[in-house]
Symmetry: C2
């Protein structure tokens, strides 16, 4: 038989299928939230038997890990790096929050995930480069990285369901009923009912970056 078709390199077809699987998973999560991301649902969307996916992923959690990392590919690094490390750090974290908000129900999974994928590593590298320019070394730099990630991801996780949820007026009504004996909450009912905003995110982020700047010049 003449080799009219290029022979598949080992793993090539699997590589293609893997991207297709992730695209299907992304689509399901966008349309139906985390609950929509099931082995059977992804398989259905690909027109394939459910157990086919076990040729590509050890189990469901491995599929979800790959899905999460694939989303981070869309975060753009600040390029070219400006003269001001703290402004670049601010922009990188803001951009991360912005991207995460597009995938509301997945955000908490990013926080808990202990082993970063290739895209998470790329973002970690960029953040550490900025912290090095700030003058942070060793454990200090790693501490700052962790604190920033926790804050940016955590804020998005907190914010997303509130944006999607009940309107402030409704939330306010509910809060007033529940806070009869809680004077501070009661006094701030309308501020508390308001959805969290980018302004609040940015305020906290500046506090952290100030703290980091202080740690760099002790």
């Amino acid at each position: 038989v003449p080799r009219t078709h290029r022979r598949r390199a080992p793993g090539e077809r699997a590589g293609l299928a893997l991207e297709a699987v992730l695209a299907a998973a992304r689509a399901l999560s966008a349309r139906q939230g985390v609950a929509g991301v099931t082995i059977r649902g992804v398989a259905r969307r690909l027109g394939v038997a459910p157990n086919t996916l076990y040729s590509h992923f050890a189990d469901k959690s491995a599929l979800v890990e790959a899905l999460l990392d694939s989303l981070l590919a869309a975060v753009e690094l600040p390029a070219p790096p400006g003269k001001n490390w703290s402004e670049d750090l601010f922009r990188l974290m803001s951009e991360s929050r912005r991207l995460l908000l597009a995938h509301a129900e997945l955000i908490p999974l990013f926080l808990a995930r202990p082993t970063p994928g290739p895209n998470a590593l790329r973002l970690g590298e960029a953040t550490l480069a900025l912290l090095a320019r700030a003058g942070l070394r060793g454990q200090e730099a790693v501490d700052a990285l962790q604190v920033l990630l926790v804050y940016a991801i955590g804020f998005a996780a907190h914010e997303a369901p509130r944006r999607a949820g009940a309107a402030p007026a409704r939330r306010r009504a509910r809060a007033e009923a529940a806070t009869r004996d809680l004077p501070h909450l009661r006094a701030l009912a309308s501020e508390l009912a308001r959805h969290p905003t980018q302004d609040t995110f940015e305020r906290g982020l500046r506090w952290l970056i100030q703290g980091i700047a202080g740690a760099a010049h002790p």
Copy 2:
């Protein structure tokens, strides 16, 4: 028929059963993680048909909401309040992190949950009281509350699976393989492999509290 037994007040039996349901849910989550908290699992543990639980909760998410809030009952408020608001705030957030760490897999759910239960309200009230002593008013106080909650809960959510996961030596080996082209990550491989600690948590918390103190005296 003589009333030899006190008549049940309306809802009384439901009240008792509800605490029993939550105790069963807590036990399951402690022994088997979030995945163990199922309608059918809780019912099994109570020796009751699965659909019985729908007499007490509208659906599974309502059960989980009640479970989460019931855990917060264990957070102790700093009493009596000391002379130093920032020290009290520090202690309240540290105590919250400590408690959350005992329920590793549930922590991300706290972040995303948009409507606080009675125990969450109690903690929010205490935090706002401290922020009022710091001199924060209105939206500023609410911003500070949100930033603090995001950080304390987010840090615990980040920390818990890492503590439970692979030992630092193993993590370090894995990291070295994955960071061949990422010089900053590579240089800090051993610091990054180390589990996050209370020290890191406290450092970030002090940054935030400093920022809050600055906002109070502009």
